[in-house]
């Protein structure tokens, strides 16, 4: 699971109002290089919750992202920033671990890189 996906997931338990971001418990993280694509990064940038993303990248041991979200214009010219954004968003994969609901503490396990968001009957 990439941090892109972490940034798009919230706790889906019935009654939870504040389900984002899910806390990360990472047991195994792997890096896989992929070709950078500036168009994708520019298109997705406005959809990213920056603080959740920066915090998640730090938990995975990557501390190069700026605390504050940069202006979108930075994405036009700053190749160094694009490289960091790309790396944290798409090249770090949580292979084993869990996502934890910030409100209830319920754990959603991640196995073989796949988060399990299935709910028990009493949570739907």
């Amino acid at each position: 699971m990439r941090l892109l996906t972490h940034n798009m997931l919230s706790s889906n338990i019935k009654g939870v109002t504040n389900g984002f971001p899910l806390r990360i418990e990472a047991e195994k993280v792997v890096e896989k290089q992929v070709e950078i694509n500036h168009d994708f990064l520019r298109n997705i940038f406005p959809k990213i919750e920056w603080k959740a993303f920066v915090d998640a990248s730090r938990i995975l041991g990557y501390a190069e992202l700026p605390e504050e979200a940069p202006e979108p214009s930075v994405l036009e010219s700053d190749h160094e920033f694009l490289g960091k954004f790309h790396h944290a968003l798409l090249e770090l994969h949580i292979e084993e671990g869990a996502l934890v609901c910030p409100e209830t503490g319920r754990k959603f396990p991640i196995n073989k890189g796949i988060p399990n968001m299935l709910l028990h009957e009493d949570e739907v």
Binding site: M1, I114, P115
Partner: protein, 254 residues
């Protein structure tokens, strides 16, 4: 030329996971038939609901990946074996999709609302007793409850929520699902529709329907709600083509 769909010998399998079948091939053929439009569309995020073996999402990534490398893919399934098998199928073809073991798009609906440019789905569409829907194991791959519509009818409003303004939905339906009524329901949500692939086997008659937001219809749809008047022209265009749709039950055989 690189392959434009997944190779069957590289598709992973598991006894509890739906193997690529006529409906899977019909969906991939529909995407191939619409490939030029998809390339021009330049989607950012594409999702498959109910990925099973991974045959469809892998094919989509292969057919669009060369020319439009800026796309990211997401695939979901309720069956934990299916998402694992999909991962193997994707890896065997050297492509990637983010996988989530979830019910339709549960957990993604808040943050991904209005963000998906393409959704593809080959849902469990076979009419079955209601209590067979969503059971564990392989039966949930086809069991669709009354008229095969139980899961389809849950997917449609979620697709409406998740699709971007320019979003497209491709969905497999069976005659017994009453596809013309599905199209009318989607029309009320402001979507136009078109049959991309139609295929009859001895057992079933499949249609792959493409839905897209049509702003004329959205204006009309609001009128329809208030005046509930005559059907607007676009549906009238569609109806002759839909008129041969009969209802009747069918069984999945593969």
């Amino acid at each position: 030329m690189p392959s434009r769909s997944a190779q069957i010998r590289l598709v992973s399998s598991h006894p509890e996971v739906y193997e690529p079948c006529d409906d899977s091939f019909a969906l991939v053929d529909a995407l191939l038939a619409d490939r030029t439009n998809l390339l021009e569309h330049r989607p950012t995020l594409c999702m498959e609901v109910g990925c099973g073996s991974g045959y469809v999402i892998t094919s989509l990534a292969l057919m669009l990946g060369q020319e439009t490398p800026e796309i990211q893919y997401i695939a979901t399934d309720t069956n934990p074996y299916a998402v694992r098998v999909t991962r193997e199928t994707l890896e065997a073809h050297g492509v990637h999709a983010e996988l989530i073991n979830t019910d339709i798009a549960s957990g993604l609906e808040n943050r991904l609302a209005g963000s998906l440019d393409v959704i593809v789905v080959n849902p469990p569409y076979v009419p079955t007793p209601e209590d067979e829907v969503g059971r564990e194991g392989i039966a949930s791959a086809w069991a669709g409850g009354e008229n095969g519509r139980r899961v389809i009818d849950k997917i449609l409003p979620i697709a409406n929520k998740l699709l971007s303004k320019r979003g497209w939905l491709y969905m497999v339906t069976l005659t017994a699902n009453n596809p013309s009524q599905i199209c009318l329901q989607m029309r009320e949500r402001g979507f136009a529709s078109r049959i991309v692939v139609q295929r009859s086997t001895e057992e079933e008659s499949l249609h792959v329907i493409k839905f897209w937001r049509d702003f004329d219809i959205q204006a009309d749809a609001k009128d329809v709600v208030t005046t509930s008047s005559i059907l607007p022209a676009r549906v009238m265009d569609l109806l002759p083509r839909l008129s041969f749709w009969r209802s009747g039950s069918s069984n999945n055989s593969c």
